[in-house]
Amino acid sequence: MHRFHRAPLVFLAVCLALCTAGAATAETPLRRATLEQLCEKSVGPRVEAVDRLLTATAAGEEDASWTFAILDAARSKGLHCGKDAVPLLKLEDGWRDAASLAPAEPPEQKMKPPFVNLKVRASLDMGAALSALLAAPGSAAAESGLGEIEKRPDRANSAVIAAATALSENAPFVDRLGSIQASLDLASEVPEDRIAAIDRIAENPSERNRTALLNLQAELGGKADPVTRDALDNAIAEIDGWIALGAVASTVYSGLSYASILFMASLGLAVIFGLMGVINLAQGEFIMIGAYATYAVQEALRAIAPGLLDWYLLIAIPIAFLITAGVGCAVEASVIRHLYRRPLMTLLATWAISLFLINSVQAIFGTQNLEFATPAFLGGGERLIADFIVTWNRLFAILFAALVFVAALLVLNRTQLGMYIRAVTENRDMAGCIGVSPRRVDLISFGIGSGLAGLAGLALSPIYNVNPTMGTNFIVDAFMIVVLGGVGNLYGTLIAALGVGMINVVIEPLYGAVAAKVIVLLLIIAVIQLRPEGLFAVKGRR
């Protein structure tokens, strides 16, 4: 039940504060040896140096803030080494002497950070996380370090954990530290400690902990005393239950998230195709334009108001809607309006428009994927049950889809404009007779439909690749959802998206992604045979 952070480099700020506090003064033999080893090329000495430094820090022989500063710098390319030179730290505010952390002159000779490979990185990451608990107990950096340690608790240095638990500032983390300690205690030779650890671990169910217990079970084999054996059996059974629950939750969440994507992609089409009868093959490109508009907002904010950059997704909502709606209106006014009496031609015309839009965007912006900054509040996720992680970007997509659905319903059912749209849908000529201009309503409906697609592009940009051809991935699915749900019915679209999303994620782990898609499509074909006008068809103009 702990939050993890995406970028471990967040410690740097804390480090700066600590370093300037003058945490350390002298150059000790331990420091010299550590730095010498950390500057080596090979892996072994560096890992060894980290372990020794941590143990010394836990024993109080080394200043924790120095340990943290060095390890954090080493893993983020801050530690610079050179031949026969004193190692230096390159921090944001300038160079420092690595041993004393005192400000230093920039090096004259060429110095560079030693390359960090995966094994060294794991060791440095763990070391930095552990020392954060001692260097800044109770702080946000310590909490984030705790998250790192919890990923591989069996690799933690138990002396540091013990020392961290003893610090009163770490009181808020005592529970989590206990769990980590328990993981380490599994290897204990004392049966009582081991049983306590097993019970403790069972409280924190995850696949990894289950594996740890299974390993222990295999290791002990027949040698285990009955109490330990029972404790193990119970713990594994308990974890199994949670894991099963987590798996169900995870599937439901994946299904919801996939459904929200499908729904967003088809909502605009539900208006344009479902209500207006325009077979809009350019719908996918409206989604793409929405994503590009979002990108434009992001870049504009980056240039004008970097402080607001984190909120670009929210700021872009009206802009993406309006830009896409504008493009949609232009398309309607220039091409589609000539074709209401010949819907066949809308299919061809919108196909041509989609080709045109893709290639225009490609010519202007290039073919590469656009880079979207992930706002801090959308990065990562929260572990809820066992291995079930709620990822924030998907949650955003789900909530956004729900909000847009409610808004679209309100507009259609509670406003005068919505009434006009429905009137024109029900009976175009009659609506015309009572003074509603079908032409204007067409323009506005088409604008709303394309604007909704633009919002889909916005919602998809944190999840999917954004490039000129992204729209083509959605068009078949979108048509399937709208037709399955029944044209002219937003509820139908919602239910169809939910159904397809859920069925898809249930089948996918069993038979693979392709089979899932095939089965879903065949199901849709079958459903249309039974209900040729979709699941929830309403009578409209046709």
């Binding site: 091409v335 066949l344 499509l521 249309i528």
Partner: protein, 376 residues
């Protein structure tokens, strides 16, 4: 509103399309091409091959026009039947070259198979392959048509589920474990009917066969649409419920032409694949199937000749422009389609009255708009 999608764009008084001259011309060109292959005089093999491919596409367009233009059934999944023909002939050629050279096809190598799957049995025999192409395409079309037409799925719903079907087929054929070469598809063919594929004579022969087959397809299709049966089809297109009230079982009427159309598409695929030298699931992509509809619409729906010429025009332009002006081609194509759609609703080669109808339509619309303007 959707009904209009499947009703004729023009009026009922359109002149009958001049099919015979084009069919004769194609037959003549086909014979000339075969002759050119024998004698070794005439266009380069590259050019011959291009003509052959275009003719195969033209034939595909005819097959779609037959059901869309005349029976009012729009299929956005006709690539499926094209692919059936293409894949079966590819399987035939793979089998033949495997037997000849004992070099296994790529997919056997990377799937780690020692022999071809069981359904390749007998495929080295061409007549059997041909029989399979006809029966399988007919069967698939019949089954899909039967369940869809029986449950009266029509109009845009039919178009969309036909597209779903071709999409499903594409996804399945992308899988490597189905034994059709997956994404790679099948390539590396060496010979057809004992003739080496690289030779000019073979190329000319294939081109001739494609032209003759296109001529045949035109002739057959035009016989069908001019017959009493053809008039029934047009009646279905114009008002299916009325025909049903009159006591006709439209299911079987539609199924007949639907199946015929599928078989023509499959034969077009059979002719196409040896000429292009590769078949892969891209022939099953929904985009290709939409493109077929674009050819037909640009040329002129419900005219056969127009459909054929539309395919010829677009595919030729595509061949040329993807090589000499790759950046411009999509813009040219999209603008061409838009111009045709807005200004020439019956297509480039459609009814001769197109422009006049168009002008009168514009006039009516302007009047209507003025009336509307006056009201508001």
């Amino acid at each position: 509103m959707f009904d209009q999608l499947f009703s004729p764009p023009g009026s009922a008084t359109r002149p009958a399309p001049p099919v015979a001259p084009l069919a004769l011309l194609l037959a003549f060109l086909g014979l000339a091409s075969i002759l050119s292959g024998w004698t070794g005089i005439g266009p380069s093999p590259y050019f011959l091959n291009l003509i052959g491919q275009v003719a195969a596409f033209g034939m595909l367009a005819i097959s779609l026009d037959l059901i869309w233009g005349y029976a009012g059934v729009l299929s956005l999944g006709h690539g499926l039947y094209f692919a059936i023909g293409g894949y079966l002939i590819a399987m035939h050629m793979v089998k033949v070259s495997y037997l000849l050279t004992s070099t296994p096809p790529d997919f056997m190598l990377f799937m780690g198979w020692d022999e071809l799957p069981g359904y390749y049995a007998g495929l080295e025999w061409f007549p059997y392959t041909l029989l399979l192409i006809i029966t399988i395409s007919a069967l698939v079309a019949f089954i899909f048509g039967f369940i869809s037409f029986r449950s009266r799925v029509s109009g845009v719903y039919f178009a969309i589920i036909s597209q779903a079907l071709v999409y499903v087929a594409m996804l399945l054929f992308f899988r490597n474990d189905t034994g059709f070469g997956g994404n790679n598809g099948m390539t590396g063919f060496t010979e057809i009917l004992g003739q080496p594929l690289g030779e000019r004579a073979t190329i000319a022969g294939l081109t001739g066969a494609s032209l003759l087959a296109a001529a045949m397809a035109l002739a057959v299709a035009s016989r069908v649409v001019r017959s009493r049966y053809g008039h029934m089809l047009m009646a279905i297109r114009d008002d299916e419920p009325r025909l049903r009230f009159l006591g006709y079982e439209t299911l079987w009427l539609k199924l007949g032409v639907w199946t015929l159309s599928a078989v023509i598409a499959a034969i077009a695929g059979m002719l196409y694949v040896p000429q292009v030298g590769i078949v892969n699931p891209r022939v099953l992509s929904p985009e290709l199937s939409i493109e077929i509809a674009v050819w037909v619409a640009i040329g002129g729906r419900g005219t056969l000749v127009g459909a054929f010429l539309g395919a010829v025009l677009i595919t030729t332009a595509k061949f040329i422009l993807t090589a000499i002006a790759p950046d411009l081609w999509p813009f040219i194509l999209s603008l061409l389609v838009l111009v045709v759609v807005v200004a020439l609703p019956n297509g480039l080669f459609g009814s001769g009255e197109t422009l006049r109808t168009r002008i009168s339509q514009l006039a009516t619309r302007r009047a209507a708009r003025q009336a509307e303007g006056a009201r508001t």
